[in-house]
Amino acid sequence: MNIPPGLEFLQQQQRQWSRRTFLGKSAQAIGALALGSLLNPRLLRGAAPAAPDGRWRGILPAPHFLPRAKRIIHLCMAGGPSHLETFDPKPMLDRIHGQPFPESFTQGQQLAQLQNVKLLARGSSFTFSRCGLSGQWISDLLPHTQTIADDICIVRSMHTEQINHDPAHAFMNTGSIIKGRPSMGSWLLYGLGAETDDLPGFVVLMSSGPSVDQPVSARQWSAGFLPSRFQGVQLQSVGAPVHYVGNPDGVCQSAQRQVIDEIARLNGFHEEESLDPEIQTRIAQYELAFKMQASVPDLADLSKEPQSILDLYGVKKPGDGSFASNCLLARRLAERGVRFIQLYHRGWDHHGDIDNRMRGVCQLVDQPTAALVKDLKQRGLLEDTLILWGGEFGRTPMGQGTGRDHHINAFSIWMAGGGIKPGITWGSTDELGYRYIEDGQQMHVHDLHATMLAAFGIDHTKLTYRSQGRDFRLTDVHGKVAHGILV
């Protein structure tokens, strides 16, 4: 029989389609449509991911290994903080300050703005101290972080592949620079589901200062090819965290409820016609919006926080949009079961005047960061909350006038809490802080993702999603778990 190719294709499609019942085994689900059906509780009938209340419980029926972390707070220091001024002291670099930077390091290497410029070594103007019982080296620019030295694991061997801000952020968030890939928060929500019905499971807050750097694009918290219910939701840092959260004058909650029910029914008609899985997302988001009308004011009401807590974080005026306010909100989000909390602080892109600008930004960030760790610890939340502090890349040991350029071969981050060994330093860089040392403790961005997922009990090779005929994962085809930093 000679079947026209188009028809053959269609038959194949239909075969796949008629297997809708198999969608419970969603790991092999076909593309977004299949996932959409999964999201639809009517089609699920008690299969793993959704509970009777319709909340997404995650695609993974059970963790691959013992999960230590339940949620993550990512303190993203946007702009690229210098490792040489924060966590990676280099006496040798200080010694050759102002002298030509050895060519053996830089030959053939990628540079951002220092191309065709005579490369001079630039030592750090700041001193470092050994801190806590663990004796970790931390810059004196970060006196508060020094007090949590025994709680954090400093990773000095980070490296990335992207030398400009936006692609580097994308690489840090999604493991790729190609648009349309899901960010790590979306992956976690997809894999593990949410622990709250009243707030989005992936929340983003933004602050900046003292200087304002590049904007951070919303694509950094996009769900990519995952259904958009897994994408990050940005809350406003200043004023009301969410616009239009209050009803119009004269509309009571019961009237609002009726409107939403009605819209859900209309959307239901539409969905039956078009089978577009995004309509289920739309219905779910209306429901979430209704809940947020009560949960968001409660979240943002800092009036019940005692003065001692405000002082601990250094919050001058609650809701002022500062990093300090956002850190306090982050704790409150963590308490309320938000899975992925991402705080961006823009202000680390120090191409010039690095000494003064480091002082300025450290002053804004240091105290709230340490306060967050201490506060979570005293509430017993640190043990299952993973904290990640770091930027999208580091800065050159070569000076750029009075500053430093972007640098991908070495930078420092730290992690704390959920499943991370406290009080250790992992990995190292060469004597000038130019490149990570390959001693088995090197940490590529993919390795960081693999390790983070491992802290959540997820085997990074097994959390996949099929898009356009291929199984994708956060770590693509890479990623090595740094078991040495896991408890």
Partner: protein, 284 residues
Amino acid sequence: MQGEPPSHPELLDWLSVRFVESGWDIKALVRLIVSSGTYRQSAHHRPDLREFDPQNRLLAAQNPRRLDAEFVRDNALFAAGLLNLELGGPSGHPYQPDGYYASLNFPARRYKADTDDRQYRRGLYMHWQRTFLHPMLANFDAPSREECVAARNLSTTPQQALTLLNDPSFVEAARVFAERVLADESAPDFRSRLRSRVHPFARASGLGARTRLARRLSRHTTTPLRRGSRLRARSRFRRTPVCVHHNRSGRARCLDAARTRPPEPQRNHRALLRPPRDEHSSRS
């Protein structure tokens, strides 16, 4: 690289050959595609394709595309008969949450929403403040224009729902829309009024949706109801009809939904975060 087999291999071959023969002329290729019958098909739902080709892989119809942020607004205003279609000229200033520009400096700015017809200008003509993009536009993925964007994000977020439910622009559009259907005396029942008067909406949604909407509308009565359609924006806020919300037994339950204020009222930070009031006790 793995991928799905193409749905139309011969067509791909034909397009490739055309492309090469045209001297690798990308413009011509794009023109060929977008001017084709397939591309220009209606996205209107075809029930007959649902079982046969649910994912529309064979392209028997156009895939529905989402409205961009500006058009979401235009669409609502148009359905209400409020949209100002004037071309060119200075930007319009729609309602915007109070204090949104509070941290905007050099110089400090105060936003003043238009109180005339410019309020209802098309989204294209909305005042555009870089880094402080109108929240409605931002919520529907309009770029802030801080950087060039080739393709906009496509998201489905709770903020979009909140915007459509509570942004004064949309509340007003909804109110005016309802007002018109209620005031229309050309047909006795709401369903035919919806069908005849509300052309864009009626076209977009099916019978079931219209029936439901009509049923919902019939649960409301308005007193006093103004005659005449287009009133000046200013007076619209001053003398709004009060809509009495009935429960099933027909007893008035609470004052409802009728009034829209131009901007959100001046409220301090704390008050802004107050949970929405339930007005049953005080006003029924």
